[in-house]
């Protein structure tokens, strides 16, 4: 890791800057901006870059441009970016806490737990407040996470592949309940729920942007505070304890955070698979860095992944929209396979 140290006031103020990681982060942020611009331009109503800029600045060239950008494309793209960042951070936190490179909210059933709750509310109590959705989803996925950790930890500690296998079982169990609800429900509501279940961003609007922004405001300070315990937990429980970390408290806090991020993301757009699995690993490939910088890179990678998946799903077979979840799975599975091939199965058990 290449590190440049900046010092001021004779070394009293010092800042270590991992140059490569920062460069990568800047490049990715620029790429995200380009993708944003591009997805605001593209669609059945094409806009030129200056038009998009003018519309965003409040000086739209036409009524249509104003509606298309502000009502549809802009919130949708923002939601895609934020959801990507949330899922990626959730995956990274789970991977650190369980010390398991394969942990991912959608693989272990956390996303499915949120999905089951949201589908139940959509079908059984459609009048129930829309704004309660993320909170209910959080409740659902928290229960699932607690169940999995309880089942997996009862014999040989939580940090094993057993955790993932239990999660795979729980995920398919919960999905079957969700599917049963879909058959039971009223056909129109079931169809709404079905589109949402495939992980599609296209229905997202400013409401979702609001939830996600509020969650981000709560979660980001916690994550910054957590980067120190996380970097200790990475080396194992004993090391962390001897460094003065309250491991159990830190672990539950981080699991709660990971679950919360995933739940809110799922409540907004449905269960998008594999983002939480892939983004942390890609971020680590791009630049080695400490936990804090790795989190930043992970969030950017996740944003870019879902942003591109949504864009591809919208543009590739237009006018048919392919849910972003399908593209994230198609990108994510090969990475998953590579990870299986690299994971030392025996050392994990």
């Amino acid at each position: 890791m290449s590190v440049t140290t900046f010092e001021a006031l004779g070394g009293r103020v010092a800042l270590q800057l991992p140059v490569k990681a920062v460069t990568v982060a800047v490049v990715m942020a620029v790429t995200i901006a380009v993708v944003l611009l591009w997805s605001l331009m593209t669609g059945s109503y094409e806009l030129s870059p200056p038009d998009v800029w003018a519309t965003l600045m409040g000086d739209a060239p036409s009524e249509t441009a104003e509606t298309v950008v502000w009502e549809f494309r802009f919130p949708r793209t923002l939601v895609a970016f934020m959801v990507g960042a949330f899922l990626a951070l959730s995956g990274a936190a789970l991977q650190y806490v369980t010390r398991n490179p394969l942990a991912d909210p959608s693989l272990v059933g956390v996303s499915q737990g949120a999905a089951l709750v949201v589908v139940s509310v959509t079908i059984l109590a459609p009048g129930f407040g829309y704004y309660w959705r993320p909170i209910l989803a959080f409740g659902g996925s928290l229960i699932v996470a607690a169940v999995i950790l309880w089942i997996a930890s009862s014999r040989r500690g939580g940090e094993t592949l057993r955790f993932i296998l239990t999660g795979v079982g729980v995920a398919s169990l919960i999905s079957s309940f969700t599917s049963a609800l879909l058959t039971y429900g009223d056909i129109d509501r079931a169809l709404t729920a079905l589109g949402w279940l495939a992980g599609s961003v296209h229905a997202a609007g400013w409401d979702e942007v609001t939830w996600l922004a509020v969650t981000a405001l709560i979660a980001i300070p916690i994550l910054i505070g957590a980067s120190r315990p996380l970097s200790a937990i990475r080396f194992g429980e004993e090391v962390a304890t001897s460094l003065g970390i309250r491991v159990v408290a830190a672990r539950w806090c981080l699991v709660g955070l990971a679950v919360g991020l995933a739940a809110v993301a799922v409540a907004a757009v449905g269960p998008l698979g594999f983002v939480g699995l892939v983004a942390p690993h890609v971020a680590r490939r791009l630049a080695h860095s400490g936990v804090g910088m790795h989190m930043v890179l992970t969030a950017l990678t996740g944003s870019l992944m879902v942003g591109l998946a949504d864009f591809a799903g919208r543009a590739a077979f237009a006018p048919i929209q392919i849910p972003a979840g399908i593209f994230t799975a198609i990108i994510g599975v090969p990475v998953f396979v590579i990870l299986i091939l690299r994971t030392q199965a025996r050392s994990q058990l």
Partner: protein
């Protein structure tokens, strides 16, 4: 085998066959119009032309019960063979990618080659099952530590997720061609016709016969490869036959009912509790118990939320996933 044991086995055989026969008639009697069991019996034994209930039983309801029996027997036997040959308590066509491969191939066959209802459906399913299984075993085998239950299941989940995503996209892009297959995709016995079944029948028969023929050698293989070789078993040949049998059974089941998860996992474990580790007993009993299980599950799927019908595959997953979780805890 001593006399007491033989008696126990014989009694078990007759009791379970009787239970399946009863479940078969119960399955037929349940429906939009309940038909009493004695009329079902009359319709099966001595049907009379022109009696409305007899026509309903024979033409409308009996096919579905036959599908349930065949699919249940096929999946349970496939699961038993896979668990025996790979010595993996969690082996099953759905978990190890065979079912995902078969489903994917059928979707491709229907969507791109308009094969619905033809003899090619089971063939496509078989090619897909073989491909999916080989892919999963290749990935798991290349992982450090080799094809352990853990790596196999992870590889199965990966291949399943990938194929599911592509299927989903294919369906969205060509909704018309798949209108009738939405339900099939979640694992259902409704909507198939006798013609499709007849095309799948040779695959069922061939797979079951092959499984019964190699059952004795599978018992040896389940004790370990060296033991089997020491007992004079041609392990390569038996494994090849087992693979063909599993692929044929999975393909036949998928082409009728779509992906029914966890049947092949649950049944052999239940059967083993009663009959021990001899595959000459496990294979036939798995077939019988599997048939009864899918019959009962299919009754539940139709009755619980009547008049709405839940897909059979959803119910088998609800019942099977807890068993899977328990096995992960207890056996790994």
């Amino acid at each position: 085998m001593n006399a007491k044991r033989t008696l126990f086995t014989a009694t078990g055989l007759w009791v379970s066959l009787g239970a399946v026969a009863l479940a078969f008639m119960w399955h037929i009697s349940v429906g939009a119009k309940a038909i009493p069991l004695e009329i079902v019996w009359q319709a099966l034994v001595s049907p009379e032309e022109g009696v409305f209930d007899h026509v309903v039983v024979r033409d409308l309801r009996m096919p579905r019960a036959i599908f349930a029996i065949s699919v249940g027997a096929a999946l349970a036997v496939a699961g038993a063979l896979m668990q025996g040959v790979t010595r993996n308590p969690l082996a099953e066509p759905a978990i190890l990618g065979l079912m995902a491969g078969a489903t994917f191939a059928v979707i491709i066959g229907i969507g791109w080659f308009q094969l619905a209802g033809t003899a090619y459906v089971p063939l496509f399913a078989a090619i897909g099952a073989l491909g999916g299984g080989i892919l999963v075993f290749t990935i798991a085998g290349a992982a450090p530590g080799g094809a352990t239950p853990l790596t196999l299941i992870l590889a199965g989940a990966a291949v399943g997720g990938f194929l599911y995503a592509i299927e989903h996209a294919a369906i969205l892009l060509n909704e018309d061609a798949f209108r009738d297959f939405r339900v099939w995709l979640s694992g259902s016995l409704s909507g198939r016709d006798m013609e499709t079944y007849l095309w799948a029948l040779p695959w069922f028969g061939g797979g079951l016969i092959a499984a019964l023929v190699i059952a004795r050698q599978v018992t040896a293989l389940a004790m370990g490869e060296e033991t089997a070789a020491g007992l004079g078993v041609d392990t390569v040949k038996i494994k090849a036959v087992a693979l063909v049998s599993v692929v044929a059974l999975t393909a036949a089941a998928v082409s009728i009912a779509g992906p029914l998860g966890f049947v092949g996992l649950v049944i052999p474990h239940v059967v083993r509790l009663f009959v021990g580790s001899d595959y000459r007993l496990i294979v036939p009993f798995s077939a019988i118990v599997g048939a009864g299980y899918v019959l009962v599950v299919d009754i539940a799927a139709r009755v619980v939320l009547a008049p709405i019908e839940i897909s059979t595959g959803i119910v088998t997953t609800m019942l099977g996933a807890p068993v899977f979780i328990w096995l992960v805890r207890a056996r790994l």
